[in-house]
């Protein structure tokens, strides 16, 4: 029966997940952003359903939000770059140098930190960045001033936390890259640097972009790590959190939340063509 009706089969397959994602999830998002156009009673925190652009007006007129948004995007970019730079050699080693046995062990080694609590890892970095901690000892040993708590520490900690999400897609991308391409490059006279630059990097870029979707979105939404190692800095996540969790001002929180959402949607649209979506 079904075999005659591919449309019916498709509907049966897509129906439940689309109800979940398309109706429930998208619906929740839509409801949130509708809330951004309402207002709340500042004292009781009760949402009043009157249409107003006040939240957005505040968001765009106060410089501080632009500063925070730019800072957050900057941190996300840096975290992504650090992760890409760090993940590349280890992924390359795993996929093209290590033997299968070692490869498996390395993969486990890279995945394992995912199971150690996020908070505990962040506090471990707090310890390392504190005065007298490992990082500052290392800096002092070479005669430099330790960066201490601040944006540097935030970038390092976030990059550390999201590293596995960058390594895995790059590794998978390199795994799919046939060895014969590397051999062909060497055969045509290219030294290793050339081969990496001209053959390996262009081919793994989609994988890196796939990883960057994770690092970007996770950074844009984070408010905890920056509180632990960020010194006096705050990111967009903190503003959203403070307004919803603290001030109970959901309309304004929703308005602020549109910033990372727009950033991510623009980013997704931009990377769509690279084929990154296939590499997630």
């Amino acid at each position: 029966m079904l075999h005659r009706h591919p449309r019916v089969r498709l509907a049966l397959l897509l129906g439940p997940p689309m109800l979940w994602l398309g109706v429930a999830y998208l619906g929740a998002l839509a409801a949130l952003f509708v809330t951004a156009l309402w207002t709340q009673n500042g004292f009781t925190g009760v949402i009043e359903r009157q249409w107003t652009l006040d939240s957005f007006r505040t968001l765009f007129t106060e410089d501080v939000y632009r500063t925070i948004a730019l800072r957050t995007i900057g941190v996300a970019v840096l975290v992504t770059l650090v992760d890409a730079v760090v993940a590349f050699p280890i992924a390359l080693y795993m996929s093209k140098v290590a033997r299968p046995g070692l490869r498996r062990i390395l993969l486990v080694a890279v995945l394992m930190p995912l199971w150690a609590s996020y908070l505990v890892k962040a506090y471990a970095w707090r310890g390392m960045f504190s005065e007298g901690g490992l990082v500052s000892s290392a800096f002092n040993a070479v005669g430099l001033e330790s960066p201490g708590y601040g944006l540097t520490a935030t970038v390092v900690t976030l990059a550390y936390l999201w590293l596995p999400y960058m390594i895995l897609p790059i590794y998978a991308g390199l795994e799919r890259l046939p060895n014969s391409l590397l051999e062909a490059s060497a055969d045509l006279g290219a030294r290793t640097g050339h081969t990496i630059r001209r053959v390996i990097v262009p081919v793994v870029i989609p994988a890196m972009v796939a990883g960057s979707i994770f690092t970007f979105s996770l950074t844009l939404g984070d408010y905890i790590a920056v509180r632990i190692v960020g010194g006096t800095n705050q990111l967009l996540g903190n503003v959203v959190y403070d307004n919803v969790g603290a001030a109970n001002n959901l309309p304004f929180a929703a308005a602020v939340a549109t910033i990372p959402v727009v950033v991510m949607l623009v980013y997704l649209a931009a990377v769509r063509r690279t084929g990154a979506m296939e590499n997630l």
């Binding site: 062909a184 055969d187 045509l188």
Partner: protein, 350 residues
């Protein structure tokens, strides 16, 4: 077909006692070879016989366990691939998927630092050589198998290497295309005059194209000769079987028919199939038998004849004239097979 090796100017490639083992497996077990400049040299052998491994050692992808590799008289054994004046055409072509056809072909010049304009010109010429002008802007994924094969060829040739290594370059093509590419490749080699080292497991391909052929078996060279000698005078039963159909006469049958004990091979096309009553000819061996099977091949007809003396022989008859039906009706008939005494080649039993 080609001048004997000795007359050539120089030696392009020399392999001296080349060995390679992967752990327990001995892939290449002592190979000595000298390839002349401009020669079309083929390595033929069954799967796993070590052909690819030899090629990869020449290219520098694999380090020999023992032995030396000389290119133009210079020992290059320890050098990395990019420091060797050889290029490879890979079986799967290994075209860079993110570059256009032109960029692929330019690649070798680009990494050597040839300037943009010179690069364009030379790459354009190379593409013309393989009849792909106008395809420069395409991506490899937009080409057919045969076209990709030609891009791989152009990419290697543009560097004017001393030696071109080809690992079953036609293996992925279909029969008709393969035949066409064989002719093209051979003509190209003649034009550019570069030494070709060609790996294949297709005996017809090797016979058609090569100046000399090395037959590999178990990591060693079983016989090294020109196509005709290899085909007409196989040194071992293995070669006889691998290069052409193995038509063996052994033991009693050999004694009865040829008059001497031993193992002999007779190529099917050397055998004449006659009515049983036909008169014996002097100087020809004769065997009586019954036709078990007749297969029409188009240009020829192949018959299997069970010999009265034991064993059976394949006979190939060109379909020059006469009706197909007549030939097919021979099935079950008594026949006489004859061949020149010299065409029964004694082979080192194995």
């Amino acid at each position: 077909m080609s001048a004997p090796v000795e007359e050539r100017v120089g030696t392009a490639v020399s392999l001296r006692g080349l060995r390679k083992s992967f752990g327990e497996v001995v892939a290449v077990d002592g190979v000595d070879l000298d390839l002349a400049e401009g020669e079309f040299f083929s390595m033929l052998g069954p799967s796993g016989s070590g052909k690819t491994t030899v090629l990869r050692m020449i290219a520098g992808f694999e380090e020999p366990t023992a032995g030396q590799i000389l290119l133009g008289g210079v020992d290059v054994t320890g050098r990395p691939p990019y420091a060797r004046d050889v290029n490879t055409v890979f079986q799967d072509y290994a075209l860079f998927p993110h570059m256009s056809v032109l960029q692929n072909v330019e690649y070798g010049l680009r990494v050597k630092g040839v300037d943009r304009r010179a690069r364009r010109t030379q790459a354009g010429e190379a593409l013309e050589t393989v009849r792909l002008s106008g395809f420069g802007d395409r991506k490899p994924s937009q080409l057919s198998g045969g076209q990709r094969q030609r891009v791989a060829l152009a990419r290697a040739l543009v560097n004017r290497p001393k030696v071109l290594l080809l690992d079953e370059p036609l293996g992925a093509l279909d029969l008709k295309l393969r035949r066409e590419m064989q002719l093209e490749l051979k003509a190209l080699q003649r034009d550019v005059g570069i030494t070709f080292v060609f790996v294949t497991h297709d005996q017809e391909e090797a016979l058609t194209m090569s100046d000399r052929i090395a037959v590999f078996n178990g990591g060693r060279i079983e016989q090294l000769a020109g196509p005709a000698e290899l085909y007409e005078r196989p040194a071992t039963a293995f070669v006889a079987g691998f290069v052409g159909t193995s038509n063996l006469l052994a033991d009693d049958a050999a004694e009865a028919i040829i008059g001497v004990p031993g193992v002999f091979t007779v190529r099917p096309e050397k055998i004449r199939l006659q009515p049983a009553g036909a008169p014996a000819e002097p100087g020809r061996c004769t065997a009586l038998g019954v036709v078990r099977e007749v297969v029409y091949l188009g240009a020829a007809t192949q018959s299997v004849v069970d010999l009265d003396a034991g064993g059976s022989l394949l006979v190939l008859q060109q379909n020059e004239g006469g009706s197909v039906q007549d030939k097919l009706e021979l099935r079950g008939a008594q026949v006489r097979l004859t061949w020149h005494r010299e065409h029964a080649v004694e082979i080192g039993g194995q």
